[in-house]
């Protein structure tokens, strides 16, 4: 119990003395992290080609087989299983993985653990697409047809065969039914033309499009609506992923009985309509009876205080020794509605593995309690350019004078040059981040090159002042702040921020101080997160603070980098509407370079990989050169990169790939983790 006592002591002490001491502490320890060994080598399990001669199973399943409740393991595993070579060694079976979740909206927490139910996936270092549910794929030369090859003999968790029919069922009965999916998804409609899903034979499925769609393979592997499987975005109750258990879900569809019949049954179960009932019944987080194919399946749903899962006896992956995965029997996630409670319990050693909801700012205390909580800490660095980006509203109209300056390229560049990113890195990232622009890590194929990490993103207040003078903001008031050109009042720029993934309000406060030093009076408005988004959608913000996680693969998650998605329109809601509606609504960007970036982006889906990556580099050069978003610091463990791992666990990578498309910790394949004792 000393553990908790000590850690509470720290908590109270930190709270009592406030931020300056916390900052000092952070600066004092930041030097240690570089040599701490906490950032390991990028590692993970790999896929092997040879199928083991025989299969073995968990003792609990062997017992069920003996009782006649389950067919023998050889009949449960497909003829061509996915063979994973574990990171260190074959594991032992057993154990319960204790973890935290923060409520029914935290479905991604479990999705990511079960992410191998995706059709295609990425390998552990996040730069190569590998088979997953589909054992292989083929794209036609013209890019219009993608064929997926399924695993022969693969089964759902209830033992029913998993075949091409489940894809056709998804496409025809779910996706194409306007009651269930009102709007077609862009992943299935390149250039606005809807695609089709066609069964070739039992284990072969084809996606057919009318225009070249070379990006489709990446979409299938990425964190996208089509690439889902059952465990993506389920939190909204809308499965878009390309397959569904036909044999189970047919009973909830009017087509297979009658509208009156399914409605009656829905009402009996307490739902308003059959559509609501269906959305709950086909959600693996909510319905334990739903057949799935991920390594674990829900036994206690997410909308209870304990979200619990047990192993899928029909899971279709084995290790190189022929042991059916997963090794760990159960996952029990306990509800902690407060993030502080999650972090406290993690430090008390109450979770076996937890990277989600662990806060970078608590790292010093987390490290202090390693021995008492019996855990190791791994810091996983991200690949995206910036954990904090200041995004300009490029369609702002509320105040013509402000809009004019936001639209002025040198104004944005000057503001970027006025920020001391090193100081921000030391203060907020404990020195663990890489200061620079929004461009991704230079090792990635879409990176425009290392020089673009620093372009307009160094600390040069003298140049910034000169640039601001040159564009016509040379007049200042008594306090040294630059004046508006229309009425001679002080020019006030508002930064809108929330405290979410990082304490962006505090980041904004520091940035506003830097901007004031070059004479731009910046004002920070702290927002409740919903109001923040409402104001952004309402075209009310000047500058908003956010991050650009996921942009390391630009085409798969562009919403925080380019104004293309009206649900999070930081860079200009009018432009997002214009882009998403193909010009029918909204207004095009006034900035010619931004317009060009959007045109390049739209054209890229039909380009082959090499050409597409070149286009991405071109887009990045435009974005960095024009500073629509000012990157501060990135490639850090800030987002799900502080990983607390109990010392009993084996096959744990020293460093995991944390990225949107890697479905952290999915690409580390948690089904290969095990309890050593």
């Amino acid at each position: 119990m000393t553990t908790r006592r000590r850690l509470l002591g720290y908590g109270a002490a930190m709270a009592a003395v406030g931020a300056p001491t916390a900052q000092a502490l952070a600066q004092a320890v930041s030097g240690q992290f570089a040599q701490s060994g906490l950032v390991g080598a990028l590692q993970g399990p790999t896929q092997a080609n040879t199928v083991p001669a025989s299969f073995k199973e968990a003792p609990q399943l062997a017992e069920l087989v003996k009782q006649g409740k389950l067919p023998p393991v050889a009949q449960r595993i497909p003829a061509e299983p996915m063979v994973l070579k574990p990171l260190e060694s074959a594991g032992r079976y057993g154990g319960t993985w204790r973890r935290a979740f923060i409520g029914p909206s935290d479905g991604e927490n479990g999705n990511r653990i079960n992410a191998s139910d995706k059709l295609l996936f990425w390998d552990y270092n996040g730069n190569k697409i590998v088979p997953s549910v589909a054992k292989g794929w083929e794209m036609s030369k013209d890019g219009k047809t993608t064929t997926l090859f399924l695993r022969k003999g693969m089964k759902w968790a209830d033992g029913a065969p998993f075949t091409a029919d489940d894809f056709v069922f998804w496409f025809e009965d779910l996706y194409s039914n306007k009651d269930i999916v009102p709007t077609p998804i862009s992943d299935m409609t390149p250039d606005g033309k809807p695609g089709r899903v066609v069964k070739i034979d039992e284990t072969t499925v084809q996606f057919q499009f009318d225009t070249p769609f070379y990006l489709f393979i990446d979409l299938l592997a990425g964190d996208t609506l089509i690439g889902g499987g059952q465990s993506v975005r389920q939190a909204t109750s809308f499965t878009y992923g390309a397959y569904s258990p036909a044999h189970y879900l047919k009973q909830f569809l009017p087509k297979y009985s009658s509208e009156a019949e399914v409605t009656k049954r829905a009402k009996e179960a307490g739902f308003d309509t059959w559509v609501r009932a269906l959305h709950v019944k086909k959600d693996w987080q909510l319905n334990p009876a739903l057949p799935t194919i991920g390594p674990w399946r829900t036994v206690r749903p997410i909308n209870t205080p304990t979200w619990a899962m047990e192993r899928n006896p029909y899971y279709w992956a084995v290790d190189t020794d022929g042991n059916q995965l997963p090794y760990i029997d159960n996952i029990v996630m306990t509800l902690a509605e407060d993030l502080e409670v999650v972090n406290l319990r993690a430090m008390a050693g109450e979770f076996d593995e937890q990277e989600r909801h662990i806060s970078l700012a608590k790292l010093p205390v987390i490290l202090e309690n390693r021995e008492r909580g019996k855990y190791d800490v791994h810091l996983d660095l991200a690949f995206n350019g910036a954990d904090t980006v200041f995004l300009f509203n490029m369609s702002y109209k509320g105040d013509p004078e402000i809009a004019k300056w936001i639209q002025t390229t040198d104004f944005r560049r000057a503001l970027s040059l006025s920020i001391d990113r090193e100081q921000m890195n030391e203060t907020f990232w404990l020195g663990l981040g890489t200061p620079g622009s929004i461009a991704p890590n230079e090792s990635l194929p879409q990176s425009p090159g290392p020089e673009w990490r620093t372009k307009w993103s160094t600390y040069d207040p003298a140049t910034a002042n000169k640039m601001l003078d040159a564009i016509g903001l040379s007049k200042k008031d008594r306090d040294g702040y630059r004046l508006r050109t229309d009425n001679g009042q002080r020019l006030v720029i508002q930064i809108q921020a929330v405290n979410a993934l990082l304490p962006w309000v505090q980041h904004s406060e520091m940035v506003s101080q830097f901007w004031r030093k070059v004479g731009i009076y910046a004002d920070v408005k702290e927002m409740e997160r919903n109001l923040n988004l409402q104001r952004i959608m309402g075209n009310d913000h000047h500058v908003a603070a956010w991050q650009n996680g996921g942009s390391e693969l630009l085409y798969l998650f562009p919403r925080h980098t380019l104004p293309v998605d009206p649900t999070e329109p930081f860079l200009g809601p009018e432009i997002c509407k214009w882009y998403a509606s193909d010009g029918k609504q909204g207004t095009p960007p006034a900035d010619a370079n931004l317009l060009r970036a959007l045109q390049l982006f739209r054209g890229a889906a039909g380009q082959q990989e090499d050409e597409r990556n070149k286009t991405a580099q071109e887009i990045w050069r435009i974005l960095v050169d024009n500073q629509y978003g000012i990157g501060i610091c990135g490639q850090s463990p800030a987002a799900q990169g502080v990983r607390i791992v109990g010392r009993r666990l084996g096959n744990i990578p020293g460093r995991a790939c944390i990225a949107q498309h890697c479905r952290t910790p999915g690409s580390s394949h948690p089904e290969t983790w095990f309890y050593k004792a």
Binding site: M1, R4, R5, L8, G9, A12, R98, I102, P104, S105, D106, E108, V181, P182, T183, P184, I185, S186, L225, R233, A235, S237, F238, G270, D272, V275, R276, H279, V280, L286, R300, N303, T304, P305, T306, V332, T334, E337, D338, V341, L344, R345, A348, E350, V498, A500, L501, R529, N530, L531, L533, Q534, G549, F557, D565, P566, T567, E568, A639, Q640
Partner: protein
């Protein structure tokens, strides 16, 4: 008398209806709807919702409809006991609240018992032994208890509980019992976890109650009837307990009105700090998420409890105070 009761009853129903309208309006006041709040929440934790999903969700929950249509649909079902589905929890509202209601009541009742068993004797003692050393000590502790906010007290007591007793970090169950079906072992586990939050919850109220009891009793002790009782030679204990204490308790009867909603909502902040699965955090979260049916139902529940509590306290007052009865007649 009957007419009075009927009038109060009719007024109570009207009040509850007004509360239901008001709560629905207030929940809708912030800009946006549940889907917007949902997108914002997911975005803050690094997940995302596509435009296609957002539109589909709005259609499904009927969020595009005008306010009065949504309210009409909801209230017409509430009348027959169907409180709708919580959009965030995707379960019927009654189930979501039901899960937590018993633990909430248990916690609040526990706190109430602690409050009364501590406050009344101490209050009486402080009044009878006014300006004694013990009275000064209780007064000092009492003022500190009133002045220190509940949640801060929770943090401090948690710290000392760990230091000296090794009590667990928050929650009402140990990890191994959280999943288990109800059993004696689980009940015992709950019994071990309950006292700490109950005591923390009770402390502020205790301090306040001590002060009230002391002041009330001091007023009564100076009355001539006390002198008369003493003059007649009654024992000191009997004099104090039988007459002035009873009179001093009267104001507590009128407090019943606040007691009822307190049972459900009194533990909000404590529950958030200590991570307890009670109704309090549910209410806060549902308001933030604009989960209208869940938030509306909890607010309605609190309203009903207040109205019922007021009604009962009226009855109790009439029963204990003859003067009120005379007014009625």
């Amino acid at each position: 008398m009957i007419a009075f009761l009927l009038r109060r009853l009719a007024l109570g129903v009207m009040t509850i209806w007004l509360i239901s309208v008001l709560s629905f309006v207030i929940i809708q006041l912030p800009p946006g709807d549940f889907v917007d709040a949902y997108i914002a929440q997911l975005a803050s934790s690094g997940s995302s919702v596509s435009a296609e999903e957002a539109q589909a969700m709005r259609l499904q929950y009927g969020l595009g409809q005008p306010f009065y249509v949504q309210y009409g649909k909801w209230i017409s079902r509430v009348v027959v006991g169907d409180f709708g589905e919580s959009m965030e929890w995707r379960r019927p509202v009654t189930q979501v609240i039901g899960d937590r209601l018993w633990l909430t009541l248990l916690l609040s009742l526990g706190a109430l018992i602690v409050t009364w068993t501590l406050a009344l004797p101490i209050g009486i003692y402080s009044a009878v032994r006014q300006y004694s050393v013990a009275d000064y000590i209780f007064t000092l502790v009492g003022f500190i208890g009133i002045a220190v906010p509940n949640f801060l007290m929770a943090l401090i007591i948690m710290y000392f509980a760990f230091k000296f007793f090794g009590a667990s970090v928050g929650g009402l169950f140990s990890a191994e019992f959280a999943m288990a079906p109800w059993s004696w072992a689980k009940a015992w586990d709950l019994a071990k976890h309950l006292p700490l939050p109950a005591v923390i919850l009770a402390l502020g109220g205790t301090a306040q109650l001590i002060r009230i009891m002391r002041a009330n009793l001091l007023d009564e002790l100076r009355r001539p009837y006390v002198v008369t009782a003493r003059a007649k030679g009654l024992s000191e204990t009997r004099v104090i307990l039988k007459y002035p204490v009873r009179a001093a308790l009267n104001p507590f009867a009128s407090n019943i009105a606040y007691l009822f909603p307190y049972l459900v909502s009194g533990s909000i902040i404590i529950s958030i700090v200590l991570g307890l699965p009670t109704v309090g955090p549910l209410l806060v979260k549902s308001l933030v998420a604009q989960d209208m049916f869940l938030a509306g139902t909890i607010v309605l529940l609190l309203g009903v409890l207040t109205v019922v509590g007021t009604f009962i306290s009226d009855l109790v007052l009439m029963w204990v105070d003859p003067r009120l009865r005379h007014q009625m007649d």
